[in-house]
Amino acid sequence: MSMSSQTAGATPRLHLSKDVVQVIYRLLAAGLLCVVLAVVTDSFLSTNNILNVLRQASLLFFLASGLTLVILSGGLDLSVGANIGLSACLAATVIKATGSPVLGTLAGLGSGTLVGVCNGLMVAKLRIPSFIATYGMLWVLHGLTYYYMGGETIHGFPPGFRQIGSGYFLGIPIPVYLMLGFLAAGTFFAQRTVWGQQIYAIGANPVAARLCGIPVDRRLILVYAFSGAMAGVASLVFLARLNSAEGDIGEALTLPAVAAVLIGGASLFGGVGTVFGTFVGALILTLVLNGMNLLAVNASWQPLVTGVIVVLAVWLDMIGRRRT
């Protein structure tokens, strides 16, 4: 057949997948932002500020990396911010009660994961649309946390525990190492495991994925559990950094986390995106917010800018889809 001869005769050439090209564009954007900020502000290039940006980006990335998997599977998890609040407060209580940071860490990770599993069950088994299920969960968690804390603050944790949030190693904040670790682990999971590939397939077409023999329900529960566990991780780093737990600790982070994932090139319609892209997305968003800060823009502008970015990112993604 003439058609097949074309295939056989095609010369192999350097191939950059669309994902890679997208990430390169975003890296360039991040670089450009750095250059602009370095020019227009005096303090941007100071070591302190750079480390500050990296640390802030890392907190955002923990949350956003778990959320990336959810969005890859074609869903959304709006409960991550509230999950941080509950997990941080539980972890704080356990550390205070037992004096053991290890038990506290387990409590934070455990509660985060449990919340995620509940989300997964609602989405996969009860077939509640993910944005509604996790939105309901947001308020359940929010209420539980406030009720549990009763307006109190828990503070003062062992120095060893505080290291994971505010410590340094070789002059670089510990959370940055953690971020790189989770970046590697998340990328490996998504790109190099069968489960990761199946999650992409589910997001791209859940019906076809089911008819390919992928156990869709189990993978979805796993994805939401991961997202919850990453909220647990974020809660611990937050706790260690702030050295105090309050009910509203992660509340303002949901929208930025969604924004970071969408800036990173993941599609809200599922099946497209990478954990590395989200990493770059978290960097870009942090740079924007940092720049506004350095330029003495009132912090009140932050949710507004983040909201506009979310809508813009989704819109650009939809334009891109319509073209292909």
Partner: protein
Amino acid sequence: MRAAVKSPPAPEVVEEKPDLGTPLLELKGISKQFPGVKALDDVSFAIWPGEVHMLLGENGAGKSSLMKCLCGAYQADTGAYFHMGEKVEIRTPTDAKKLGIAVIFQEFSLVPYLDVAQNIFLGREFKSKIPGLLDRRRLYAEAQKVLDRIGLEVDPRTKVHTLGVAQQQMVEIAKALSQDASILVMDEPTAALSDRETERLFAVMRQLQAKGTAIVYISHRMAEVFALGDRITVLRDGKNVGHAVPGETSPDQLVRMMVGRTVDMSYPRNFRAPGDVVLELKDISATTGIADINLVVRAGEIVGLCGLVGSGRTEVARAVFGADAITSGEVRVFGRIKQGGPDVAATEGIALIPESRKTEGLALIRTVSDNLAVAGLPKLFPNHLFSPGRARRSAEALIKRLRIATPSPNQSVGLLSGGNQQKVVIGKWLAAGARLFIFDEPTRGIDVGAKSEIFALIDQLVAEGAAVLMISSEQAEIVHVCDRAYVMRGRRIVGELSRSELSEENIVRMGMHDE
């Protein structure tokens, strides 16, 4: 010396263009192309006032596409419309409505939580004297009139979602009738109706006819064609293959026109003696409505499953694969009882090549390589670690073996042609090591060359000992390719045809209603 005497025109010409004056609506040279298929190819056709014009054809012959062009749901690529001899445009549903065209759809165009009256007059609400409000009294009074006319004894205040299928179909009919259309198009209106409702509908049709309404009627039922039709148009492969008048033709003649002498295209098959039983269904009933299904497929065999669209063929395939729940009976695969969903089916070596490639078979935004790997992931990577290089090599081997025309394994699968997309769907199951293949309309929307390639591939599969169950609406394919075939009607299997009994006429007769 011969010309002067024989002046009257030949009788065939009279039949082609009956002398009934100007047609109410005339379509000339309508073509409609979809990616990979020519749904309508230069179709011309005219309707006169007061006639019932039967539109016949096999599944996929282009009847529905023609209807959708008529009502403005599709825009024809080429061709022209003439209303009472004047050239008109039909580009939107509103254009069609202005010309007095109303359509009774097979898929319901009803809003579930509006009541019967609101549905009948959707988009044509009655305004009250108080500005902005609706005249509900008039709405229900008018709706009651229409319902009385078709004899539907339902309160016009009933919400449509509480009605049964037959009643919903009647509401759909009422909606079209209420438009006082001069041209009424009906797509198998009686498919869901009982005898009583059907008779009532026919009575209404006769009234309309007397008033001069033109009716285009699509049906699969021969009895209706002869009882109601004034003229018959037969479509095949998107082409108008002929007109007929009921008094001058017979059901057999029409069946032959519909089936046609298909383009001389033979699919090479090497028939062999079948091996062990691979798939056995015993008295299967499922939530989707299929009942008492018994069938057997052996290794080395291609078994056809035919019948009209909606006769339950796809539902059988999905029940075997575990995509829909079975309520009774047992499925045996390779001798063992199979339970569980599609994930179990896939690990047991069953492959489903679904009817709708784009929505159920492929992730269109992902690459050829991704799609080829997706079903075989657990088999290709038993230690759960995915290797892009290995997936790529596996994909390249499959691309070569199946001769998939793609510039690279990294091409988005959505950019391939229909035939190549279908090869990708088959390829993913080869990667998964499937031994029982269920093909649901494997050649829909695929060009002729790719069709024979796909059949060669299926033949190769059975030669290697796989078992194949194949659903197809194209009788010619079943006849050429299958060892034997089951025929379905009304969600049951109504007969089995052995190789020697397999003929298009037999399939159509068994699968059609009546007789």
